[in-house]
Symmetry: D2
């Protein structure tokens, strides 16, 4: 009889609850991880609220730090007991999308090898990481050993928010000397701010209204902070850039006002890099879009995954270019996960990210 493990599952809109499931069987390409630390993502809150649909009973969570408990029969190059992380996105490596370099849209097993957001599996299409154990698919493409000396909390942001936030800067091809505006300074926006700094931006304008976030933002790299509850952020950014506009605007919230403001502060020829998860249609204002003649670029990005991505992000931590541990503001046991959701979903007590340990 299979052993049981504790898991946090989606019960119904409004409720994520602690439950038990059997520890899963390990297929030939899989690895079973024993989770040592995980966290809750804003997307999990969307799931809890029923705004993003997943199957009832699914284990939630997509940010694993753990230890290899068991390897599939065809998996080579790892050993049990090894400390690893995997990305929130777990590409197969062998779909057409992966072989084209767009692995977050992994369509492994589909007719054409492409599937929108198909690389996001944990806590979306398969059981996730807010659990004592998680099964990692296509383990050889996804398990990234944690460098010696790094703690769980030091690498806890790599699987999702660091990868997502950095990609906002990377996809916009920020150059040395660029000016960048980042709309919203939640965990992903903060990581976009860091990514902009690491990419050589010299003017980095962070927009939010929570003083604590803006303060962290300045420590992590923002040269200017704009409190949108006090000033019009478009006017203020145009003032800061002396009416030039920014080279790159990063949207990190997923709303019409932030998307639209990002477009309005962009110089002709600039790039709007969108990271937010939207929940309704978007409007592109004609004048902000120069009637389609502004040589603008708009890019959207789903969190890049895979073991090489994780390796690189951990290198950023290991080299001490960035320390993201200040983002971990609260800690809970897996047993207390419902309390953790309650705090996190209500954004109480200045929470940025919570560390969950089974």
């Amino acid at each position: 009889m299979a052993q049981k493990m504790k898991v946090a599952i989606f019960v119904k809109p409004g409720r994520i609850a602690l439950d038990e499931k059997p520890i899963p069987e390990v297929g030939p390409l899989d690895a079973l991880l024993r989770i040592t630390t995980t966290t809750i993502c804003g997307t999990d809150v969307h799931i809890m609220k029923g705004e993003y649909p997943v199957a009832q009973g699914l284990t939630i969570g997509h940010e694993p730090v753990g230890v290899i408990e068991k390897l599939g029969s065809a998996v080579r190059g790892y050993h049990e007991g090894q400390r690893v992380i995997a990305g929130a996105i777990t590409p197969s490596g062998w779909s057409n999308a992966c072989l084209c370099g767009v692995s977050s849209q992994d369509g492994a097993g589909t007719k054409h090898g492409w599937k929108a957001t198909g690389g996001w599996k944990f806590g979306n299409t398969i059981d996730g990481c807010q659990a004592e154990y998680v099964l990692v698919p296509d383990a050889m493409a996804n398990l990234a050993p944690v460098p010696d000396g790094l703690t769980d909390e030091q690498v806890l942001m790599c699987p999702d928010i660091m990868s997502t936030g950095f990609s906002g800067a990377e996809r916009a091809r920020i150059s040395i000397g660029d000016s960048v505006a980042v709309f919203a300074q939640g965990p992903i926006g903060l990581c976009a701010t860091v990514g902009a700094k690491l990419s050589g931006a010299t003017t980095i304008i962070a927009v939010d209204r929570v003083a604590a976030r803006m303060s962290i933002s300045q420590k992590l790299g923002a040269s200017h902070v704009v409190d949108f509850s006090k000033v019009d952020p478009v006017d203020e950014i145009m003032r800061i850039t002396d009416d030039r506009g920014v080279d790159v605007a990063i949207e990190a919230l997923g709303t019409q006002p932030t998307f639209e403001a990002a477009l309005r502060v962009l110089r002709p020829g600039g790039c709007l890099s969108s990271l937010g998860v939207y929940s309704s249609d978007l409007t592109i204002p004609l004048n902000a879009f120069a009637a389609g003649l502004g040589d603008h670029t708009i890019v959207t990005t789903l969190c890049p995954g895979g073991k090489e991505r994780m390796r690189r992000l951990m290198e950023v931590i290991r080299s001490e270019r960035v320390d993201l541990t200040p983002l971990v503001t609260h800690r809970y046991k897996l047993d207390e996960i419902e309390a953790a959701y309650d705090l996190f979903s209500h954004q109480r007590d200045g929470v940025l990210k919570v560390a969950i340990t089974p």
Copy 2:
């Protein structure tokens, strides 16, 4: 007393008329061209209708083929009597936008060196080409000698529609083996179809409803044509691509339905390349946008100009890779320009482009 020349000017919404103006003085960086052939663009019709505002009395037109009549005192490297073209967009070469490679947004003389659509000067911010003579600004950056043996009509499409249409393919970075859908097969859409073919696309789906245009489209490179008045173009393109979607969708009309359809037929990770001039806000449907998680790219492009661009486009003609003379369906004298506008603006008699000769 200055000599006079015939010109076509914007009088008021609804009226472009033949008139007379003095032949302009030549500044140190300018060249005076004697126009031998020019044409009317869809944008000129927008101007005539008052949908795109220009100053009353402005000479219209931005597609010059001509002969150098006089060179500015500081212009080197050309001689009077030389046959040349200039692009619809005449970048200065020295603005910050130009020095960044975004010369269509040329902000020569502005505070920061950027100006939305600032590279488009002829018939927009300075007197244009539907005239006996036109003054070319920043002549050394803009005059491109016509290779021996090419006729005026062979190079007449280079200044605008060939440059614009090709850029739709180029900015999308089409790769060998890509599938591409082109929405609308007016002159610019036809050139985008050619551009897709020259870039190595293997499935090129042209969408229109005018049989004559679809017929030319097939001659110029379309592998499939879709008549949107008979079938739903999104369904049909998904059928043609066996539900995969296209790698690149090019919008060449400037309307919400074509923009939206272009997004709906795009595979995850694909690129929507927008060429149309829009006249109202655009809506991005949430599901077509994968809620912002589809790794999509949307690019807009204003016609690239400058002498090197013109040189390259004329090379395409000279090498016989493409023959665009079939697009010239009608010919008028400059004296008959009002009749030409009447025909062209009403899209009568299967008109694609009209050649105007002073």
Copy 3:
């Protein structure tokens, strides 16, 4: 007792011979192909001559067209009896190199996930395709179904020379209107010529001395041919380009004279794309290199593989943009492979490529 199959093996320098081996066991990620057509590559001749070392007894050949005979237990998405090809390069999909988009340098299983030329396995590090059966590793990343209606010979060039030749054009980022010189018009050089044309080059100068090859070259896309046995190719290319030089020079032979000539005909800021397999150190002449100040780019490329690459190349064939069957000049049974090597290695009888059928 395992069934036997016929194979062509490397015996010792100077000798490739027909032999027998057991039909291999199929591992969980493998597929066993029954070869229906294969071919001999110039690289195989290097192997035969002992210039490129492989293990004695290794089955040679890396260009498979065949039918799936048996699938590994973990392979999904294919069925036995399906007609497929695989690339000469068979990336794992899951190495760090693959996850970075450099899959030809696949280091699956190595310490860091990178290995120089590690993606080339068939007939190099594992048994190859000049055999009745071949085992394809990482089948899900590598098997590409042949579109209905295409013959074996139509797709026979896809696994190697078409992929390699095209990559010479692709890696150089050829733009519409570029001038390109291709040094050597063997099978790979001919495919580079085709790739240049598909990428929009307008002046394509092919250099060789074999009249038959230059004739095919012109049919496939060359605008000019230069016989280097009659004229100095550098002088001639500078004459053709009116002393401008070419935007891109592709080296497709692997010798100092062709590499050096490619550099000498390059305009400042141009790209030398090298495809040849060299057998000795190379010299970069100081003046051809502008002392290191010419903004030059030199790129080398190993044949790209993987199923998405193969799908795209077969699309080029299916769409009739290119027909490479004229390259198949001779046909042999596998039993006659030694005669085929004799003909091919001595370049007798105008041979370009030989089709081998078990």
Copy 4:
């Protein structure tokens, strides 16, 4: 009678001397700068030694910080008395090379618009900056106002070594998490180290043998320093990278040993970015080049110039991302220029850069 100014001229191999010339006439596109600070470059020492030929009597120097004394009749957008810098490279903006984005190879006025290293004019093809006044050609493309509050010495590195060094990192397209080796830590190598850091590299290995340079290197961003006089740099870099090799190797000296070592430490698929000015042919070792099959890229770069480049570099200084004033180790009056050359050319007294003030 024209007023005289002091200048440093090339007299003959081995001798640069103070002299007098008339203050030049200002052409319509020019600006006359009164130099307030300039410096000596390693290239100037090559010129002095006769290793790089220039005309006898030419004024040397290409790094101007100054004040606009007089503007040409066609120059708009500046005013006399304005503090500006211009790049070592002064592109016209209007040549074909400039319009292609390769402005350092500016061929303004040549047959095709391309000229190898043609953008380098100061102290090479026209009188340079080690003088009381210098004439800036194509002023509108080249004059970059100094932001308020920055001193001459703060921006003195922008015209050449900062632009060149950074371009070594930029042309290699360094990504966040890359490992980079920089060979030689003279002024340009130090700036390449800074550029690598600003581009997101996490392992930056600086190679030199001068302790003082390696010490500055660590302050500016190197994570490791390798003294090549004590260890084999190839072995040591492979040890540091745990045998993986580096993603990018930057050559900043211009010799065979550094070029070759850069290639040997490169991982497959990596990029060698060459900044050095070579003085003899180079050899590419066969094995370091993977016989041409390693998916390597080699790029060379001449210092990017133009006012937008200068604006961006001064933004890096203004934003306090970098302070390069520690590179100014010695200060001289223009009258003492011969002593400055003596010190600088013999690399005495730990000199990195000298500031020269007229």
